[in-house]
Symmetry: C2
Subunit: 392 residues, 2 copies
């Protein structure tokens, strides 16, 4: 009656949603203060002062036309500013013509995939991965190919990657820093990946690297996210200000395509066309202006770091194996039993809500999101202790 | 290399865009004050006071969480308020659970089409029509079927409509008031259409009526847009605040599905899922709050009416045939020669930019958008006089 494919997807209801419902149930039963919900990735940090000041300025300016349509690619001055910022970081020459403003990174990914995919083209992702990629690729007639990571450091397994490339491979999505592991792929690993891609491209045509990097400013310990545009010739940066500026609900992001891509002019027209015809039309106008004013600002990273450290250190103390992440706001420890889904159910008995690694294509692990109040983390430690004790 | 389908669509570059480029060229040559650009539908009116006050309130409130994610369907209080407003108008019982907030009407249409279409399902539209519908339907694997209107009043030709229904017909899009004619389909015509649909549904299953009505508040002379939800059992209202509140660039709208649709609960889950996975994720947060505060407000309609009257009366005086529109901000007069594309080129010689009816699936006519300054209309009259004189 409705779309069969969509209805079938609904039946496999997502883990994160299941946890959300479980959380509401537990909160009713035990009181919200006794439930430790680490299942959601709703950025905790409020927008920085630069964002709030810019909003006030534009909302009180009385300027005509602030809320009207603009070019489907977005305001030129905003795109130019982003281009120059990326150029500085990558040393790849970029201008406004290489950037389109999008409805967040999720919108940007859909725009890129629609613009490049032909029927049954394959898109490689590295597990554990953000499972929404499956839907984005499928929306535009592509097929997702999942390649494992090296679980000792959660960097891509490049041998498996090379084997997974076929003549239908059109793109590779990397998510750096990664959701759910928080790991930043190293420059060395990405350079090695680029060599594999270039070798294959010589045989079969261009393969596009799409870097989904909404967490690129949520990094700790002086870590730096390597510049995708400088490493991969045929690359896109897809970004959003959801995390870096605390604007997740406002749906503002961008796509930047490397000027080194063959046919870049056609490609930019294709991206603009897809932004329009997928129904985004343009990125929200007011928040484009805010990005112009606050591009270099960022949310309070120290607060996230404090939370990471508290959880990471306590989990290690309790015997969990976990790669210490240098970015994003997730931990991805190994479950204390093989069956991660069963482990997550055992955690629910202690009022702890987690997401099983299976939900990210990586069974045996679980995700903790620390976009939460510090005192909830503090209160949760005793519950984690009781959970761990079960497996001693 | 890129998506072949997208690249092919780019080659058929749109009329509106071609006019935009022509306009820029003419403005450079003759000065912008000597070019009469009626080609764009960028709403002219500024947001009303209620919108600006609400924006100021939320931006200065200091309330935490204003810009965070919410449920993919949108804030419940906003959805409830819209539901009750539609219930009042339609007498169909509706609640928040029947409404999802969307990235404008274009986003809403994509969400609905993805949620209901199976491969090769057919979607009927009435020419002249907003040609973006072709792309929206194609995005989700459907096929657009074009049914002509009665050009004496630009209401749907229901005999042709009935003949066009096949076992693959899944939906009908009506755009009321219509872009490009400005005509409001009458209640009588829609009731007659509903009877045809119900007869066919008894044979072949549900057919959904999707009412795309961003111009529903841009109406003149006391006209009322008939309530789709009260006339069609299986119906959706897709709306945006682009025109009614002057917020085109902010991408805020909604989808309301009739509670009378069989399987409505699954359908609403499907819509929410599609809103998420198409990459919209949620409608922009701040503007959802603004809609809550300003739902019943509207832009200055009298200003649009003044412009409609000035253009309509002058064009009639010059011998143009034109149905007097009661809504939207377009006129759709008959060209003074059979070939509308050639006629539009002749108009360019007088620095008048129009869009040929062929661009809306209705050759022999042209569209004038009066989202422009009044004094440009005044200055243009002499140019229209010279144009009309060529055909005397």
């Amino acid at each position: 009656m409705f779309s069969e494919k969509v209805v079938k997807s609904l039946e496999k209801s997502s883990w994160i949603r299941a946890m959300f419902e479980e959380g509401a149930k537990l909160a009713r039963k035990y009181g919200p203060e006794n439930v430790y919900d680490f299942s959601l990735g709703n950025p905790f940090a409020e927008p920085p002062k630069e964002v709030l000041d810019s909003l006030k300025k534009h909302v009180t300016s009385g300027e005509r036309g602030t809320h009207k349509y603009m070019n489907n690619a977005g305001y030129e001055n905003v795109r130019e500013k982003i281009a120059k910022s990326l150029q500085k970081e990558s040393k790849v020459e970029l201008s406004a013509s290489n950037v389109i403003m999008t409805v967040g990174a999720a919108g940007g990914l859909n725009v890129v995939l629609k613009a490049i995919l032909n029927p049954d083209d394959e898109v490689i992702v590295f597990a554990p991965y953000f499972v929404e990629y499956n839907f984005y690729v499928d929306n535009h007639g592509g097929k997702t190919v999942i390649v494992p990571s090296d679980t000792s450091n959660f960097e891509p397994d490049l041998k498996a990657f090379e084997k997974s490339i076929t003549p239908k491979t059109k793109a590779v999505i990397i998510n750096n820093p990664n959701n759910p592991t928080g790991v930043i792929y190293s420059k060395e690993k990405l350079v090695e990946m680029a060599k594999i891609i270039e070798k294959k491209e010589a045989e079969q045509g261009d393969i596009y690297v799409i870097s989904d990097q909404p967490y690129s400013k949520i990094v700790y310990d002086g870590a730096v996210v390597p510049s995708i545009l400088s490493i991969f010739k045929n690359s896109f940066v897809v970004n959003s200000f959801s995390k870096s500026l605390g604007l997740a609900g406002e749906r503002i992001g961008y796509v930047a395509a490397s000027s080194r891509i063959d046919g870049i002019e056609t490609l930019m027209n294709a991206l603009t066309f897809c932004n329009r015809t997928l129904g985004f039309v343009n990125a929200p106008a007011l928040f484009q202006k805010v990005i112009y004013d606050a591009l270099d600002a960022q949310v309070d990273i120290e607060d996230y770091k404090l939370k990471r450290d508290m959880l990471y250190e306590n989990l290690k103390r309790l015997g969990f194996e976990c790669v210490k992440p240098q970015g994003a706001f997730y931990l991805f420890p190994k479950a204390l039993m093989e069956d991660d889904v069963e482990f997550v159910k055992r955690a629910i008995n202690h009022n702890i809500l987690l997401v099983p690694g299976s939900g990210f294509g990586c069974p045996g692990y679980f995700r903790i999101s620390y976009c939460v109040e510090l005192d909830m983390i503090e209160r949760s430690i005793a519950a984690f202790e009781r959970l761990a004790a079960e497996f001693k």
